[in-house]
Amino acid sequence: MRLEEANVLVAGVGGQGNILASAIISKAAIDSGYKVIASETFGASQRGGAVASHVRISRRSLSPLIPEGKGDILLGFEPVESLRIGAKFLSPEGIAVVNTRSIYPVDVIIGNRAYPSVEEILRVLGGLSSKVITIEATRLAEEAGDPLAMNVVMVGALAGIERLDIELAVFKKTIEEMVPKRTIDLNLRAFDAGYGDIKKKIEREAP
């Protein structure tokens, strides 16, 4: 089912490439005839802090932040960040796609806190949304040629769940336009890997 109006959240850690992912989604939506407004919570220029992009796709002008509980889709780049943002913004009808690779906060590194188990995170997130799909996006990106292309794997995953009214070809054209020239092939491979992985999972689930 494709949404006519969609609130997309991209949750990650500074340096994971949220902004590029959300910019690709935004531009692809504009090129599909929609109005878009997007911005980040927790500030975008922070080193290693939590970053969440709010991307709002609509036929009209909206505000740059999603009201709590009104998120339709969550792209989680990191488990704890997925839960942080999912709990606050995801609607109970919403869907989450989560990269299972953790990035430890300083508190965990210096031994003050323990990182929760990923299973626990996914279980709780499941209770807050209609569906959670996991993906080893960092590994898929590594296989595509660069672990940093994880963000584009996740954009591929977004295309794979087929909730947005954006054609596959528009996503690909947007990626070609927005990434540095010498990394186009790499990023398209990353996109395809994410798209393929999610499609496979969804098909397997289908009765």
Binding site: V13, G14, G15, S22, A23, S26, K27, I30, K35, V36, I37, A38, S39, E40, F42, G43, A44, S45, Q46, R47, G48, G49, A50, S61, L62, S63, P64, L65, I66, P67, E68, G69, K70, V80, E81, L83, R84, G86, A87, K88, P92, Y104, P105, V106, D107, V108, I109, I110, G111, R113, Y115, P116, E120, I121, V124, L125, G127, L128, P147, P180
Partner: protein
């Protein structure tokens, strides 16, 4: 990579712009000829965007040494008739206040637009500050757009206004606008360029004693024209549904939350809505109309109750006494950035309606989630040279038996304030480390006083304070953490890098030479990746009886990494030899590189994806367990 849409000549086409790119596009559409700035989040991308197309559009674009200089550069070009844009973050306006309070009275000839980006919630700043006060202080116009489209259009309008009124014009942004991205419909690119000519007129341009009250009068005479030119601007809009008994006044980004909240609460035909986009002068007629129509008004604005207080004053001039609510009445919070939910809650309370987006059961699950989620403190990057410098300062203090007080400054190194380093004892504003350290040094404290300051910050505001330390004999150590970039704000070049805003080679100003010229005789330069040598250097400095400077020099790790990726140079990550690791955790508790993680046995591990191969943890580890991976 410059955004190709910045220069696209296709009026009406809808494209994706970041708020700051929209500001830049507005300036390009207005035919800007000179642009100057000093970096500062969230404003930096305005000049970066213009600089990326400066050659193509024959624009002089520069990173100046600080905001005051950037503004003065702008004054020089605007009084020569050129269209000029100066941009800065909120605290930058504090630096331009001195020249601003004279330029408002001489006025300008070419349009002079100052974009100031406030940072509600201080996401990337030392304070929250409402820069709107400066437009009243200087008695000049200020526009406040609410989305990227208005951001572009407001700049075009600001240039027109500035030339019509012959006054500098402010455009206020906030982080949420500057860093949001949205669709913008392009306008026409102005083809004609202002002629450059300096008309000598000492009665106007020379703000000397006794002559200036005449110019102050000129400014006051402009005020009426200012009101006439702005009341009906597209940025102000009053929506008065028939029979509305309540009203909302909102400005900037929060006005978009109000629109949406009205819809979610089904209040659209019950509540009057005045959206204000001109902060100075306020659209007094519209405000009076609203106050005369409704029983109560909620004022929604970020940071200070600035408009709320003005509306209270205007209310004395109308017959109907509407109840004015907002921050002063506790309906809205006084600090931090607003969100849709803050506004929803305030509006629901104001209108006495219910709003609860989640069921009770769901709220409990949210609470369960919040219990699991860990905080994620911001930290310096893996391989950051600043972390190594702080580690060496810590070692040097320990080995000399000195206790230290570290006066900090603004930049990535300020993250040294957080655990596990916890090595910044004060932070105020740019350059304050050295000035405050001078005061600490003269306070006869038992501790050794250390100032830590970055290279860009040193050039911005550290130099006069360093001269002061030598001149007034403040016994202290100044550590200049030179990472060859303005890293915190996005790696902009500065005079110490020898590269200009448009990427051209220029003179390279040498920090050591400057320090010497400031009167410092003891200066040593060291590489923080060499822990032993840097610690020894710092020990000598800390034990010295005079003011001295240590320059800890090593390129920013993130910048170096990006450069290496571009050139295809591979990194050689470090790894832990498990048999040697004693699980002492010193590398975490004393140093804390985020690439160091823990295995099941409590022994160190290194995340090869995050490690930059800087080698410092290997020098920190007493067991010799951390080595370069084969």
């Amino acid at each position: 990579m410059p955004n190709p849409f910045l220069t696209l000549d296709a009026p009406g086409k809808r494209v994706l712009f970041m708020g700051n790119e929209a500001f830049a596009r507005g300036a390009l559409e207005a035919g800007v000829q000179v642009a100057s700035a000093y970096p500062g989040t969230p404003s930096s991308e305005i000049l970066e965007s213009i600089a990326s197309v400066a050659d193509q559009f024959n624009i002089h674009a520069e990173w100046s040494t600080n905001e005051k200089v950037a503004f003065e550069v702008g004054v020089g070009s605007a009084i020569s008739g050129l269209r000029t844009l100066v941009s800065m973050k909120h605290v930058g306006v504090n630096w331009i206040a001195d020249p601003l309070m004279a330029v408002n009275q001489t006025g300008v000839r070419g349009g002079l637009v100052i974009i100031v980006a406030d940072d509600p919630s201080a996401y990337s700043s030392q304070n929250e500050q409402d820069s709107r006060f400066y437009s009243y202080f200087a008695e000049i116009p200020m526009l406040e757009p609410c989305n990227p489209q208005e951001a572009k259009d407001a700049v075009v309008e600001a240039f027109e206004l500035s030339e019509k009124l012959e006054l500098p014009v402010f455009v206020r942004s906030v982080t949420r606008l500057s860093h949001s991205r949205g669709d913008v419909s392009l306008g026409e690119l102005r083809r004609e360029r202002n002629e450059s000519r300096f008309i000598k007129d000492p009665k106007r341009w020379v703000m000397v004693a006794t002559q200036s009250p005449a110019r102050h009068k000129w400014l006051h005479e402009k005020q009426n024209q200012m009101r006439e030119e702005t009341e009906e601007l597209f940025l102000n809009h009053l929506d008065l549904p028939r029979g509305a008994e309540s009203g909302v006044i909102a400005l900037g980004v929060p006005s978009t939350y109000v629109s949406e909240a009205m819809e979610l609460l089904n209040l659209e035909d019950k509540v009057a809505f005045l959206k204000i986009g001109v902060v100075n002068p306020l659209p007094t007629k519209k405000i009076k109309t609203l106050l005369n129509t409704v029983e109560k008004v909620l004022v929604v604005e970020e940071v200070e109750p600035f408009v709320e207080e003005k509306v209270r004053a205007i209310a004395y001039e109308v017959e109907n006494r509407a109840d004015i609510r907002g921050k002063l009445t506790g309906d809205l919070p006084r600090e931090r950035e607003y969100t849709p939910d803050i506004v929803l809650k305030a509006l629901a309370g104001f209108m006495d309606v219910e709003y609860e987006p989640r069921s009770k059961e769901l709220r409990e699950r949210v609470r369960e989630a919040e219990d699991i989620v860990l905080p994620r403190a911001i930290a310096m990057c893996p391989g950051c040279p600043h972390r190594a410098t702080f580690y060496c300062i810590k070692q040097a203090l320990r080995k000399t038996g000195e206790k230290g007080i570290i006066a900090g400054d603004i930049g990535c190194y300020n993250l040294g304030a957080f655990p596990p380093l916890s090595m910044q004892d004060t932070t105020y504003g740019m350059g304050a480390s050295i000035g405050v350290a001078c005061g600490l040094a003269h306070a006869n404290l038992p501790e050794r006083v250390i100032a830590t300051i970055g290279d860009s910050t040193f050039l911005h505001a550290g130099i006069p304070a360093l001269i002061n330390s030598a001149y007034n004999d403040a016994k202290m150590t100044v550590v200049i953490l030179d990472n060859l970039a303005t890293a915190m704000t996005g790696f902009q070049p500065h005079p110490g890098t020898g590269i200009t805003a448009t990427g051209k080679k220029t003179v390279r100003v040498d920090t050591e030479t400057i320090a010497r010229a400031c009167g410092i005789s003891s200066i040593e330069t060291t590489d923080p990746y060499d822990v032993e040598k840097t610690t020894q250097t710092l020990m000598r400095a800390l034990q010295s009886k005079e003011v001295n400077v240590v320059i800890s020099k090593r390129e920013c790790a993130l910048d170096a990494q990006r450069e290496n990726r571009r050139k295809g140079i591979a990194v050689h990550p470090y790894t832990v030899v498990k048999e040697r690791c004693t699980a002492c955790r010193l590398c975490a508790t004393q140093f804390g590189c985020p690439a160091i993680i823990w295995d099941k046995d409590g022994k160190a591990d290194i995340d090869a994806l995050l490690c930059t191969g800087c080698s410092v943890c290997g020098q920190v580890c007493a067991a010799g367990a951390i080595v370069e991976a084969k």
